[in-house]
Symmetry: C3
């Protein structure tokens, strides 16, 4: 159950640089590639000739050439040419609204008439030389809402990520949750504590001492359909915490785009945007490696949790204060899905 009239991250730009990419998004099998002007295109991954996946083909001068019998497909889903054939009567395949922006490729799997690029999630840090971004992609066999829950309740860091970002103070600090329109914000502040290993590394990377008490914060922000941006950081204790001068803190934004593949599997685009040392590519790589290792610790838990929920379908889960972020996010999702199902897919002019 997911909104289809929404912009989802489909892939990273470099995934389609050299060849077409087949990827299922919200139950739709799509092929992504670059058209004649280098612009991204997204089509059903189904050749109208004999049903071969177009993603097994190649791109020639911006035309997607089927790898089976050479049908040349255009970005609009209409066949351009095929050796020895008149193609005018060929049935079109579905094309999906798709936009490359902020360093990601965004696709709209629902009603194309409602796909307004202005609705794409704005990333303040993207396209800004003061910031650097590094990230990766995991495929996980779970409902996308389990990952939203995971990210909107960071008490799990104490248990799942005990050796890197977890620390006892997290689940001892109270959490606050509020909603702003369709956004849900849950935050936690921990003052005068020792920084855990990941943050000690970040302090050193920022030329700050790593052995002094710090103030730590986590501000998780859910935006529909399933984006979670988390402001995280530590500042030398007593200097203002989240509001402290950038010289005495190490901070960044954990970036999470959770794209449903099916009802029980996701493409999880994770990453970190930071405002310090943006030109330091070695640091970017080092942070990516560390974050990738940490985030991989969630995979087994989420997949096994999913299996348990399928095995015990009738059982109610608890909704504690720490779960409020995920609970509120699900309410937003439910509201959007209900509105979508009530609305006609093709709006009249």
């Amino acid at each position: 159950m997911f909104p289809k009239n929404a912009w989802y991250v489909a892939c990273m730009p470099d995934e389609i640089d050299s060849r077409p990419l087949g990827r299922k998004v919200c139950g739709e099998s799509m092929v992504f590639y670059r058209g004649p002007e280098g612009e991204v295109a997204a089509l059903e991954d189904f050749c109208p000739h004999r049903g071969a996946p177009l993603s097994l083909g190649r791109v020639v001068d911006g035309k997607l050439v089927c790898g089976y019998h050479g049908l040349e497909m255009g970005c609009d889903g209409k066949t351009i040419a095929m050796p020895g054939q008149r193609v005018r009567g060929f049935p079109a395949i579905r094309s999906f609204p798709v936009v490359e922006r902020h360093g990601f490729v965004w696709v709209w799997p629902g009603d194309a008439t409602q796909a307004d690029p202005a609705k794409i999630h704005h990333l303040e840090w993207a396209d800004n030389p003061e910031w650097a971004y590094g990230g990766g992609l995991y495929h996980i066999a779970c409902d996308y809402r389990l990952m939203v829950d995971n990210l909107m309740d960071l008490t799990h860091e104490t248990y799942v990520h005990a050796t890197s970002i977890g620390q006892k103070e997290i689940d001892e600090a109270p959490v606050t949750t509020r909603t702003e329109g369709d956004e849900v914000i849950t935050s936690r502040f921990m003052n005068n504590i020792q920084a855990p290993p990941f943050w000690r590394m970040a302090l050193r990377g920022n030329q700050l001492p790593d052995d002094q008490p710090v103030d730590r914060w986590q501000i998780c922000r859910f935006s529909p359909p399933s984006h979670v941006m988390i402001e995280v950081g530590v500042a030398l204790a007593g200097q203002g915490g989240h509001e402290a001068d950038s010289k005495v803190k190490a901070s960044s934004i954990v970036v999470d785009f959770i794209t449903p593949e099916t009802e029980t599997s996701i493409w999880y685009f994770w990453g970190m945007a930071r405002r310090f040392k943006p030109e330091d590519h070695a640091l970017t790589a080092s942070i990516r490696e560390g974050q990738g290792k940490i985030f991989s610790e969630d995979l087994e838990m989420l997949e096994r949790q999913q299996k348990n929920l399928l095995a015990w379908p009738g059982r109610q889960l608890l909704k504690l204060n720490i779960d409020a972020g995920g609970v509120q996010a699900r309410k937003v999702i439910d509201r959007l899905v209900a509105a979508e199902q009530g609305a006609p897919m093709e709006a009249p002019e």
Copy 2:
């Protein structure tokens, strides 16, 4: 189709020494671990908070701590504590009667009110310094009754285990089957034959000549729900066979606990208890290795037989004299299951 009101072997004690163990028994997903006093505990493998498998957590001071958000579970299925939460209203999860005895962990997957530890299968050789035991565990994709059939008709040794314990005399010797209450006993005696390789090794291990004629016996004893103990051995010929003095024979008990995981898969605990040289650990290891190799020869046959039976569901199998042990055992099982389904799960006081 299996009795649920019965004691099954769930695991070996050392499987839960260092971490909780997730294992499905009779269709119930369970987690096994040691509580505050080192006693075994068995619970549903489902955290009441968000449905994570508790078996992914760890045990701290006898409390099972969920690896996702730190809920602390007690051996009775009631939540003890959770950071920052009042847990009194948390729903309990199911706990299963479980007992450590005779070197095995036994679980009762059915109605807890009927779980009387006195009903646990008695093992005369366990907890007795004159005996030694070694064994292992196989997971096999077959109905547990196919393994009971296998063990109650040892003519298969001639074909499946031709190079170790099989010999032509087995399927030439008549077999006798009788029932005693809920037990089924099938026996075969072969006199004045050459010992096969496994038994020649055992004779040597017992300081007996391995090149003389022997009397060999196999006495298979089924006890519900699915235990098969097999007295096996050879004695120098003409000295009384099964009844001969222990100085002229090598004998042991093949131990088989067959625990259904699902309708078509089992946890198969196999082993051998012997009354000679109990202190010789190298001999225990050597026998375990030999037996493990022999018993692994049954796996493919049983799994492929299972697939065949699923593919030809309507076909009747033969019930020959050699099959009488398995056939009688199934009658006992059928009777117990029928009684169980007729009886109320929660007996009134």
Copy 3:
């Protein structure tokens, strides 16, 4: 959907030289082996005793001995003997008409009363010392008709086999399709072109220059149920092409027997029969290796096409002129299946 009253290639003779072979053909699980006179036999792969697969057993003096309890099965599906048992009343299992001919083992999975060996596809090149044959076997997860389509429309060579036998001239040359009774023939002739790499190798193997223009031909012949023989070759340009003297050409027959395993999987027996240098075994091996590599390039395409067709079940495919061979072949298949389903399985005397 496949005809069952037809001769299919079941295996290569050497697959049953040393042990029985279990293989499913047209949904029937069969065991193939050699009987007392070395003749091939095909039975249900199901021991009437306890349902074990007979293919796990062994052949002793032409009797198939079950590997579980030693039942001895005859080629007619009747039990011959079993240690300690009277077998007269044992139920018979089904035997299938089976013939070894032309270097292949052929089985008739349908109504045995209609199985006339005279209907086995004649191979003019088999049993002829002027010809040599080499080939292999692939298991592919697709409907057998997708492979027929593939072989009856060789325009795919340009795209799937671009580095070996594909060349642009293939999809530029027109294709002609005709039917002769139950056969469908589709042909394409390309004159005065450069030979692609595979054919340059063949020209050299035939002591012909590999750098001169050639005339190339492809004549695909479908015979029910699912055989496709393809005459392929190149001749030095202007010497008569397909009709040229054998001294100036390299030609062969691509041999394709496509045996349905299930509705969506096949045993694909591929090979090449050639009329030059039949005694050159190194050349046979070299051609087999090259062909095996080329034909393996179709596997992913066919399996992914199958998945797409299952995912979009309602979608109509195009039937272009290049598809006429496959389309006509399907009409023949449809007609045979309809006739078979209308006819009684057991014809009255």
